[in-house]
């Protein structure tokens, strides 16, 4: 079982089986308050997964007492930094607590996989696989975007561009340049984050970055020599 955690937009957690079956999912759409809700959300999904999952899985968990989580999928962004860090920190310490690995996932990959799976369900697979871009709020009048086109043999979305930032009023021009349809995203599913991780694990691939996807330096101004104050 994989525990997915993503705080790149709201706060989302989920427990999925390695084959993608979602055992439990809980989220808060609040773009703030990640630190407040994450503990309760984790307890909720683990409680549900405990009730529904077959007991006695191999792994770090005690059979019959808690779900045997075998890996933690962490949404690494892009997303507003303060909230994003809460989920990554939680993923890392949860993994430490259970003695299991963290599988980093690009949060936009999870959103893209959700769209691709929806398309497949709706029987749109025969249609020309269109290019589309996941677009999320990056604050400071910017968007974060990643362009995708179809799924590879491992069932993972194919990135045409790496995640990047652009001023809000230039996004349509930028996406037109890639021939990508704009898909504004206001929620990232933790189940999809976990599924990306499950597929990456199955394929033996690393698809996410080790560090948070900030895409922006901490903006600080260097003091210019000794500071003059007063009159």
């Amino acid at each position: 079982m994989i525990l997915g955690i993503d705080t790149s937009v709201g706060t989302a957690v989920a427990v999925v089986e390695a084959d993608g079956v979602v055992l439990a999912e809980a989220s808060s759409a609040n773009p703030l308050g990640h630190a407040e809700v994450i503990g309760d959300l984790l307890q909720t999904v683990l409680g549900t997964a405990r009730a529904d999952a077959p007991l006695g899985h191999a792994g770090a968990g005690t059979p019959g007492e808690r779900p045997a989580i075998t890996a933690i999928a962490a949404g690494m962004g892009p997303g507003p930094f303060t909230g994003l860090r809460v989920g990554i920190a939680a993923a890392r310490t949860f993994a430490l607590g259970r003695g299991v690995p963290v599988i980093p996932v690009v949060s936009h990959d999870a959103a893209a996989l959700g769209i691709l799976l929806d398309q497949a369900l709706l029987g749109e697979t025969d249609a020309e696989p269109g290019r589309f871009a996941i677009v999320t709020d990056a604050r400071r009048r910017e968007f974060a975007y990643t362009v995708y086109e179809g799924m590879d043999d491992d069932g993972l979305p194919i990135r045409v561009t790496e995640p990047a930032l652009t001023p809000r009023d230039e996004i349509d021009t930028v996406l037109a340049g890639f021939g990508a349809e704009r898909r504004d995203t206001t929620a990232v599913s933790a189940a999809m984050v976990a599924l990306v991780a499950a597929r990456a694990l199955a394929a033996g691939r690393e698809v996410g970055p080790r560090d948070a996807l900030y895409l922006r330096s901490p903006d600080v101004t260097l003091p210019a020599g000794p500071k003059k104050v007063g009159v």
Binding site: T7, R85, A90
Partner: protein
């Protein structure tokens, strides 16, 4: 869980130190600190976003190092403790998220505690000291806070007598260091300059603490009515800057040694005067010092000297426990557990202005 000697892991991320501490009851097993101070040096002060990024990277290795030093496994831990506030919001949130997930993963109780009260709890870990006696006045001085407290009981009754109305004392040291062209952090640099700084004439010598009479903030009779135990350092900062500029403008030599020593004397004087006034007013002959600025030798010296004259006993925890650390957070939670308090409920967040009266957040009396 052991109610007499709980094994507690504490997480502290309120400013620029990622602190992981492990205690058993009142016994210190590990005080692991990863500091991002060097990253802030080029900016001349703590940059919140830089600090928060550093916490995220340091947490996991710091927890692993603390466990190795304490020679315990996470499975052995009885409870997890974390700083809920006060401090930098974005930095605090990293610790809160980490602590909650760790507690849920281990299925262990979580205690969210007050950073300032943690500074007092640090004293309990001093194995060589006599037990802390109540009530005591506590003076906490660091780059993030300057607070004067009346502690009747660490786990249930801490009162804020006064605090800084503008800069923290440590910040004042950083700003004056910048005015004098000295590097960050300012505390040790000001000390160094006061001990052997420029005499303004091409040589070096010890500074004269009485060379320049800088103002003592909120110390006039008119201020004392309303701000008897409050501190203010922004006027002092302006006075030092103005003095240096006036000397420069008049073509007079500026002795960095004298400015540093006189500035430091003004800070130390007002800190010690107000702390001892609180001791006298409340009839409490005990003063506990805490916070990173206690590393300042002159502050300790003057406090000990004047306290002795006033018949006040001074306690100073080991300096490694005075700076921000996770062991003090674990120590406070350990006291709460031993006092029978129930764990914090999960809904708490990071509170950058958490009041001192909230010793434990989102917990009920047991």
């Amino acid at each position: 869980m052991s109610a007499t000697e709980p094994l507690v892991l504490g997480i502290e991320t309120s400013c620029d130190e990622t602190g992981i501490g492990i205690v058993r009851g009142r016994t210190l097993l590990s005080n692991t600190i990863a500091s991002s101070m060097d990253e802030h040096a080029r900016y001349g002060g703590v940059v919140p976003e830089v600090a928060a990024r550093a916490h995220l990277e340091a947490l996991q290795p710091a927890i692993e190092a603390a466990l190795a030093e304490a020679q315990v496994r996470l499975a052995d831990i009885d409870a997890v403790a974390v700083t809920s506030g006060p401090g930098l919001a974005g930095a605090l949130m990293v610790g809160v998220g980490a602590a909650k997930a760790l507690a849920v993963a281990l299925d262990k109780p979580l205690y969210a505690v007050n950073h300032l009260v943690g500074h007092i709890a640090a004293d309990l870990l001093d194995a060589d000291a006599e037990p802390l006696e109540y009530p005591t006045i506590a003076l906490l001085v660091s780059g993030g806070h300057t607070s004067l407290l009346l502690v009747r009981d660490l786990t249930s009754d801490v009162e804020l007598l006064g605090e800084t109305v503008d800069d923290a004392a440590g910040e004042a040291f950083d700003k004056i260091a910048r005015i004098l062209g000295l590097p960050y952090p300012g505390g040790p640099e000001i000390d160094r300059a006061a001990a052997s700084g420029s005499d303004g004439l091409g040589g070096t010598r010890a500074g004269d603490p009485n060379a320049i009479r800088f103002p003592r903030g909120l110390s006039r009779a008119s201020d004392l009515a309303e701000h008897r135990y409050d501190f203010s350092f922004s006027g002092l900062k302006t006075a030092v800057a103005r003095w240096v500029e006036q000397q420069d403008a008049a073509g007079q030599p500026v002795s960095t040694a004298d400015v540093a020593a006189s500035f430091r004397e003004a800070v130390v004087d007002v800190l010690v005067t107000k702390a001892l006034a609180a001791c006298a007013d409340y009839g409490v002959p005990r003063l506990l010092l805490g916070g990173g600025v206690i590393a300042n030798r002159r502050l300790r010296e003057v406090a000990l000297e004047r306290a002795e004259a006033a018949g006040v006993t001074v306690r100073i925890p080991p300096l490694s426990l005075c700076t921000d650390n996770g062991a003090m957070i674990a120590a406070l939670a350990s006291e709460l557990i031993m006092a029978g308090r129930t764990p914090s409920t999960m809904a708490f967040g990071a509170d950058s202005t958490l009041p001192i009266t909230d010793i434990q957040v989102a917990g009920e009396a047991g």
